[in-house]
């Protein structure tokens, strides 16, 4: 445990000497990937769907994943105990070292798994042109209009047999559209997994 804390403090110092905002953002993304969508043993396990929710401030980042192991499917929920981004920019070694990841999971039916994949895919296809800042990276220095965004960011990834589809959406969901329904139900599933009340029959769009 002591070694772990020491390692986190070293990690923090690494962040602290970072000279640029963007580098911090890039390390933040790496940490999110490592902790909320970690690597799996590809010989036995396949990650088929990922949902990551990153509030800009205050609330902790969280994820939901669907994985296949030996023809069985499972849903996983991961979340930090507090907001990682704010800890990273806080200059407080204690804050950063206090960040931990919590994990819950449950088995799901093949039908439920497929419905999640279908809806995630639809959200990805409906929001293809969302990440304008990513496009900007390809033409640095050009005069363009960017969007400042301080709300929650949602990431969807689907890995089916044919292709991998992925999107990062920096826009708040609008009540009524599929993006809203999927994020709202993902949040509900996340809370149910956390509280031990997860039940496939509860989620309207996956029935």
């Amino acid at each position: 445990m002591k070694t772990n804390k020491f390692a986190l403090k070293i990690l923090f110092l690494f962040f602290l000497i970072s000279p640029a905002y963007g580098q911090l953002s890039s390390r933040y993304r790496e940490e999110i990937k490592k902790k909320l969508d970690p690597e799996v043993d590809s010989t036995t396990t396949k990650v088929v769907a990922v949902y990551v929710m990153k509030p800009s401030f205050k609330s902790p980042e969280s994820s939901i994943r669907v994985i296949d192991i030996n023809n069985k499917s499972f849903i996983e929920a991961r979340f930090f105990n507090s907001n990682l981004w704010e800890a990273m920019i806080s200059q407080s070694p204690d804050k950063l070292s206090s960040i931990s990841t919590n994990y819950f999971s449950a088995s799901i039916s093949n039908s439920f798994r497929n419905k999640i994949l279908v809806n995630f895919t639809k959200v990805i296809e409906n929001n293809k042109s969302e990440d304008e800042l990513e496009k900007l990276k390809k033409i640095p220095g050009q005069s363009v209009t960017i969007r400042l965004y301080d709300g929650p960011t949602y990431e969807f990834k689907v890995n089916n047999d044919r292709s991998i589809k992925h999107i990062i959406i920096k826009r708040e969901p609008i009540i009524g559209d599929l993006y809203y329904k999927v994020t709202a139900i993902s949040d509900q599933m996340f809370n149910d997994l956390k509280n031990g009340t997860f039940n496939e029959s509860k989620y309207e769009i996956y029935k």
């Binding site: 970072s18 963007g22 401030f57 800042l133 220095g141 969007r147 400042l148 709300g151 708040e172």
Partner: protein, 307 residues
């Protein structure tokens, strides 16, 4: 009632999108949901509760203050339309905007202060109104205007509605506004008052010569707004800097409603588009300035109190 037809209601709806709901700010702590920060709570009011609100003097004064703010927005756009396009020697002209040279005397800050006062008064008398969402509140305002010839006449007098204009919504939502200021303190003050009164993010930048520009995006929300970026130059061989109208941009600023911290997207945008400029976030009226070179420190001061 004959006086109000569908066109007017449509126009009123469009106009109030820009200056509608300061309620949420006055009770922002209540509305920030810890879990997803995406859904604002709302409450279903009974017909009698709605009538009580609509008929109250506090609500009428609040609607009147909204009309004043909408009229101010209108005057800014007219001034911008009448000004000549700013030309740039070193940097680039803003993408699609005309800049309007402004001075603090052009703005009646009392309108903002009045709005803030009315919002608080209404919230104190009707706590349930604080929990209404934008659609519900807009509906109440429209009902109030439809019943008041005085409000209708005031809106016509300020050019906010016209029986001849066909597509008001398009006209009121398609244009961005650039406001040039002689000093950054006035730009700061305007930015904060504007954001507070309209409940939308607002942004700007400061140049090396001390002047500043405020950029108003009519499509902004409480968590997002468009922001213009400019060509980079490396005039002294000391690194890239962004220019606006021939002046080096030394600072960018924008308003946050939920935190004084910069977001991950803010940091990406700053590094990509405004290298070597500091970034100021306004939160509850206070500036928090982040220095590019060390990335994480901030300094705040209470200039707002002194204004």
């Amino acid at each position: 009632m004959k006086f109000i037809n569908k066109k007017i209601l449509f126009a009123v709806t469009a106009l109030f999108i820009i200056a509608l709901m300061p309620f949420i700010q006055s009770c922002s702590n209540n509305n920030e949901l810890e879990g997803t920060e995406k859904i604002e709570s709302s409450v279903e009011l009974t017909a009698s509760e709605k009538n009580e609100i609509i008929n109250s003097s506090e609500f009428k004064e609040y609607v009147d203050a909204n009309i004043e703010i909408a009229a101010l927005m209108k005057s800014l756009k007219v001034a911008q339309q009448n000004s000549s396009k700013v030309k740039s020697n070193v940097g680039r002209t803003p993408l699609d905007g005309k800049a309007y040279k402004a001075s603090p005397f052009d703005y009646d800050y009392d309108k903002f202060k009045l709005m803030i006062k009315k919002v608080k008064a209404l919230g104190e008398k009707f706590p349930s109104a604080k929990k209404m969402n934008q659609t519900e509140m807009k509906s109440l305002i429209l009902e109030s205007i439809s019943k008041s010839k005085e409000f209708q006449q005031k809106m016509i007098a300020n050019g906010l509605i016209s029986l001849k204009r066909k597509n008001v919504r398009q006209k009121t939502t398609a244009e961005n506004v650039y406001l040039n200021w002689n000093n950054k303190e006035d730009a700061y003050l305007f930015t904060n008052l504007w954001a507070f009164a309209t409940q939308k993010e607002c942004a700007g930048f400061v140049m090396a010569d001390g002047t500043a520009v405020v950029y108003i995006d009519p499509c902004a929300t409480r968590t997002s707004c468009d922001y213009p970026t400019f060509k980079w130059e490396d005039p002294n061989g000391n690194g890239l800097v962004a220019f606006y109208n021939g002046s080096q941009i030394t600072e960018t600023f924008h308003v946050h409603f939920k935190s004084y911290n910069y977001s991950s997207t803010d940091s990406q945008g700053q590094e990509l588009c405004f290298p070597n400029a500091t970034m100021t976030i306004f939160y509850r009226g206070y500036p928090y300035t982040y220095n590019y070179t060390n990335g994480t420190t901030y300094d705040s001061y209470d200039w707002m109190i002194n204004h």
